[in-house]
Symmetry: C3
Subunit: 252 residues, 3 copies
Amino acid sequence: MIITLTTDFGLKDPFVGAMKGVILGLARNVQIVDITHDIPSYDVAEASIVLYEACRYFPAGTIHVVVVDPGVGSARRPIVFAGNVKGTDQIFIAPDNGVLSLVLGSGIVRQITNTSLFHHPVSQTFHGRDIFAPVAGHLAAGIPIESVGPAVSDAAAHSSILKPTVLRVDKFGNLLTNLRREQLGRGFAIRAGGIEVRRVLASYAEALPGEIFAIEGSAGLIELSLNQASAADRLNLGRGAEFEVETGSLNQ
Amino acid sequence: MIITLTTDFGLKDPFVGAMKGVILGLARNVQIVDITHDIPSYDVAEASIVLYEACRYFPAGTIHVVVVDPGVGSARRPIVFAGNVKGTDQIFIAPDNGVLSLVLGSGIVRQITNTSLFHHPVSQTFHGRDIFAPVAGHLAAGIPIESVGPAVSDAAAHSSILKPTVLRVDKFGNLLTNLRREQLGRGFAIRAGGIEVRRVLASYAEALPGEIFAIEGSAGLIELSLNQASAADRLNLGRGAEFEVETGSLNQ
Amino acid sequence: MIITLTTDFGLKDPFVGAMKGVILGLARNVQIVDITHDIPSYDVAEASIVLYEACRYFPAGTIHVVVVDPGVGSARRPIVFAGNVKGTDQIFIAPDNGVLSLVLGSGIVRQITNTSLFHHPVSQTFHGRDIFAPVAGHLAAGIPIESVGPAVSDAAAHSSILKPTVLRVDKFGNLLTNLRREQLGRGFAIRAGGIEVRRVLASYAEALPGEIFAIEGSAGLIELSLNQASAADRLNLGRGAEFEVETGSLNQ
């Protein structure tokens, strides 16, 4: 069994070590893989995309633990999502703050309510060690996923991360967004920086001269691009910029 | 079997990789877990607290290797401590420079003298690879702990790290010290910054207005605090500040 | 089976996680060890020395994956080298850009041509994930090494890394070079900074006053040194400086 970790804890403090100790105490033979612990503090959007890009390469049944959790100690729910990402069944354990929004798809989200799975006493500030790590350890050790708590239907659906947003600008000026191809459907309109994009190209070569177009990048996310020039400069958009998407009601 | 590593080697150089190679050459199926390799160079006090905070979450029998070793190549002894930390039996391998002072308790300290366990030739500058890693590997592979060398009774007991010291100031101004609750006993007096503290509170709510009080922090170490204000500012104390503690002779 | 990773990817991005996912999908029980992911971007020389210093401590049969690959997407070949390094048989997977030049010795280099081993689709920019990681995973899973592709005889033999070069200056001013003792043979002359060195000393104590001499450093590489003074200052040489070596034709 494999458990991956994605956090904003950094590597100087004992936090990551403590999480691994808790996991190994429950599931001695698990393989723990660090995706990264260098997510900028509280940057849920960055964590969501790093997780999304990395998780797809892991074998079926991998458990991904994500702890970027600005709301730790508040009422935000801890959740488990078991579902299919890019054709592979995987399990995600995270706070319900939108960090899973890029991977949520076909599958079931459960709220973690079974406190007998926790590491006690549960601190108010370190649910990574006391809730997320032990739940991962118990799941790796074979408890049925139903035992974590009841299914919920409203996970992270309203998170701000789901607003169409520029997640990153690469060095060529391509705007990497948080949109997946399948979210756009067949008829759509992306409105950003005063222009409208209505088609996803298969390759750069299809672009008309000077055309801003959408393309599915290597991460599986929609990028807004301009052939051999900077879309970011042309549209005057940068990291964090939000834009509009209309889907479903349009014919191609 | 699990081996953890805590060093000040950083991750840019081949040092950590070499240690892991040596360990895996002796105990192929061991799980190696990095606590951190980002201890500031030679910072024995920082290493001692990070180790203490992390080690308690690992299962019984875990071997913790700590290499923050400003005296490498000098006469300081390499030691192994097998003992009980917070209810769990664990093993520690480190230079005898005080880095284990927070975990030393009930148990036996042995000086590592059995050179047949070393990786030869033994360099004068890299005992992590040539002494500490191979001893950990041999122990993980099952040699009896007695074979490392004779028991000693004076390990790190007089280390400067045992002087009551402020290890860290958190962002709220709480003074995190190197004192464990059990070291204070029932009657004690902490004298720091011109005031005297004689009781350990169970929660912040018990504090009198403006009172500097002691509380056991999430790391199990005594913190000096001031409710909703900065104890560091009030006492004018910072990282590394030493203070006085009187124990045993006082009644509550 | 053990697989080590040495890259310039850093730990903030999903790259290393994706490589590990691909490996574990092919060889679930492999032990993955990070040598470092903090090689400066594109610094093939630095990667070659870190790899050389670390790899020798791993047990026979270890697979070392090195991805410092400024030519990714160009015609440079991916290769596998299976051979003997310091008495131990090991396997190396890397781009053929000279990064293996310090470990290449007795053994066979093969060009990786068997595309059925790749992770498809193969990106133009991330051969670490799509070529090097899956080839490592397949080898760890037991495919015969011959199946990766045909033996080649001209691997990296003409790389600039093989020019005698100062790889690093340590804090004492010793010049750490890319030369191994055995490359010098019995009669040699190193010409650097206007002086000539013709002997390798066994210890600093053998040096004449003010003599620049060669010595085999702890990494097994030739260093140019000056007892209790800085060879770098004396010779006015720094990192990256090239110098001349004449071998074979000289008698001692």
